[in-house]
């Protein structure tokens, strides 16, 4: 009797979980709810569980309940996986909005171009970065300033 009450309490919690999951992931809510209801039925009518287990070739009714519990656990894991993906969706939207806003804010701001006739070449930090056509100092200033977008001619 104690085991039946404990299992009933656990399965009632699963039912509540299934109801809340149903709003975001209908298929998971439906399957978890169905499995929980089946579990409740077999907890209180174990002879039917034994009959069904024998019919399914499992053997004992208690084994059937354990298998039902395993299925419920797998469904909950799948639901958690899907929730993680939904959170990734939100992170993606947030990162996209931040990236586009920054880029729009930087449009029109240009890094300094190199001075080709620098006369203090020996002490100057204005070396042109190989293949880039822009001074290393300008590029570093640009990077240090935290600017993340923009366009240069």
């Amino acid at each position: 009797m104690i085991a039946q009450l404990l299992l009933t309490a656990f399965l009632a919690l699963v039912l509540v979980y299934a109801w809340s999951a149903h709003r975001t992931v209908p298929i998971i809510g439906l399957l978890a709810g169905g499995a929980a209801l089946a579990g409740l039925y077999f907890v209180w009518v174990p002879e039917h569980a034994t009959a069904l287990a024998a019919f399914a070739g499992i053997g004992r009714g208690s084994d059937l309940i354990v298998y039902t519990w395993v299925v419920i656990s797998l469904l909950i894991m799948l639901n958690l996986h899907i929730k993680l993906r939904l959170q990734l969706d939100m992170i993606t939207r947030l990162a996209r909005a931040v990236a586009i806003d920054r880029a729009k804010g930087m449009l029109g701001q240009r890094p300094r171009r190199p001075r080709s006739n620098c006369r203090r070449r020996s002490r100057c930090h204005c070396q042109v970065a190989p293949g880039l056509g822009v001074t290393r100092r300008a590029r570093d200033d640009w990077r240090r300033s935290g600017r993340t977008g923009g366009q240069i001619a």
Binding site: I28, I82, A99, I100, A103, G131, V134, R139, G149, Q151
Partner: protein, 229 residues
Amino acid sequence: MTGRIRNPWVVVAAYNEAPVVGTVVSGIRRAGYAVVVVDDGSGDRTGDVALLAGAVVVRHPINLGQGAALQTGIDYALEQRADALVTFDADGQHSPAAIAALLAAIEQPGIDFALGSRFLTGATANLPVSRRILLSAALWFTRASTGLPVTDTHNGLRAMTARGARAIYLRQNRMAHASEILHQIAQSSLRFVEVPVNIEYSAYSLGKGQRITDALTILIDLFARRLYR
């Protein structure tokens, strides 16, 4: 640019492509197109190199994946009032010359998408046998799941009108976005054409390309996506 397209933008998603992205952007700029490079949280100087080569650079603060980067670039280009968009790979395997052909295709009335196909005509250089088998399997899956009679899939060269771009929204952050685009084109009922394009495989681009294991990941992503709203 002639005809109805006045403001085309090329969208390039780039992740750790510093060795080649400058050349890619320069080629597109020389061809006369505005280009937005979405630096997808690169650990190298991809964004800086693209910026210095003449691109507008949008930087993801974290790495999200090619699909997410493409959608960011599409959103940005639409905000710049682009009337046509071309997606272009950052690894140097596409030719800027293909952009004009793709744009010409969507200038035809009623056509909203032009999909590059490496199998229509012409030779695709250095396509390895393993890649050909992988692409054939992807093609079979795409045809079966979308009903679209395409000859190539997972080809990064595509053009779309602004209307077409607004009809799709990529939620597959990673490589499954290529299949997702085709699914959304099928659902949108907008018309598409395929345009033959040449892909120049190099050791660099092959090293960056998809593998057999990625195909399994793509299938799982597509399946998981269908489970929730």
